[in-house]
Amino acid sequence: MLNFIDTVGEAVAGIKDGSTVMIGGFGNAGQPFELIDALLDGGATDLTVVNNNAGQGDQGLALLIKEGRVKKMICSFPRQSDSWHFDAKYRAGEVELELVPQGNLAERIRAAGAGIGGFFTPTGYGTMLAEGKETRYLDGKWQVFETPIHADVALIKALTADGKGNLVYRKTARNFGPIMAAAAKHTIVQVSEIVPTGSLDPETIVTPGIYVNSIVRIDSSGAAAAGKTEQVA
């Protein structure tokens, strides 16, 4: 059931302690900063977070980690020049890390949304990230068995939603949004704009409304300004 919600606080209010939360974005593009801030304010803890990275600087996911609210990170690239909060928590043994090659991360998320119970892929074969995993020789190469990553909640950012919850994205901010929307039981989307149903061309909709549960509009001028600032930072 689709709901249009006035504030990010209300949008994330149902997220429970112990939830698995997917967070869209690659770098700052597509990061739902306002929803992450609301999650931080909301107090949910003991979270497993799925994101490409593990937080940067002193904002968003990095603060969630700093505050000890993240039990486990599932990501492909935690270590960055400004991932100091994750680095500290990881070295202190206070956050668990499941490191996943980025394409496996994407495909495992896609599998969850598509009803695939597991798949074989060559990525990672023979490396320490495939240690202990089942392998099989298929299509002329050794492949590794990978399983879907499901989530309770996805927090994503899109450009525009219509009244049916259909979404379109903007440039490389699309990244993990569409597959996370499909993989989570409950998908919360922040958008810059909500348009009347019928305004979006049906040929160009990227995420059909069937994957969307809650939509909150963020003032786009403010969001754009924030994006600029963060990009420079």
């Binding site: 492909s76 394409g103 495909e107």
Partner: protein
Amino acid sequence: MSIQSNSAAGSQTGIHAGIRATIQASDQPLGRDDLARLVARDIAPGSFVNLGIGQPTLVSNYLAPEQNITLHTENGMLGMGPEATGDQIDGDLINAGKIPVTELPGASYFHHADSFAIMRGGHLDICVLGAFQVSATGDLANWHTGAPDAIPAVGGAMDLATGAKDVFVMMTLLTRDGASKLVEACTYPLTGIGCVTRVYTDKAVFLTGPDGVQVRETFGCTLEELQDMVPVPLRAANVDAS
């Protein structure tokens, strides 16, 4: 040792004759830009290419418009243009290194699973990556030093190494301590097995594969001098080897 014609260069005869002459004349180790120029020249016209973070990104500066190369960035785009500057900078348009970039005519955007399907499905012609080590049989180590206190981060490296039709590595041949990065077997944690087909270094271009290492050209050293630096058996490439 002279530069052998490879299929890519052969199919674009004349386009980069000037660049080639420059490289041939060099009897010094190649600088990073000359190396990037060389890699760019070797990419066949019409190719779809992914350039890894760091040194490989330099290659984009030397791709000629006539080559009609399409650049892929794994965060969801084909048809990536040069780095954005000034008013072009758009936080929603970045490359895999999170640098603002531009969009060329004919570009397209897609989500992460579709983007990695392009790589993993074997649709990219070439991917150019940096490396810590490459083995004689083309094993690649480029994501993790293996140091016990290091926080590992893999990103798309393993997908790129496994998926592209050809994986080119760009690196200095020697570490700061003078050890060869071309090795019999990698001591760093592996990124992929038997995936590297060419290694572009400041001192030579190597062709790697199941039959061992061939040297396509050297820069500022003889094959014999090169062999002294590298702990794997080297032989000169056949003309039709690459």
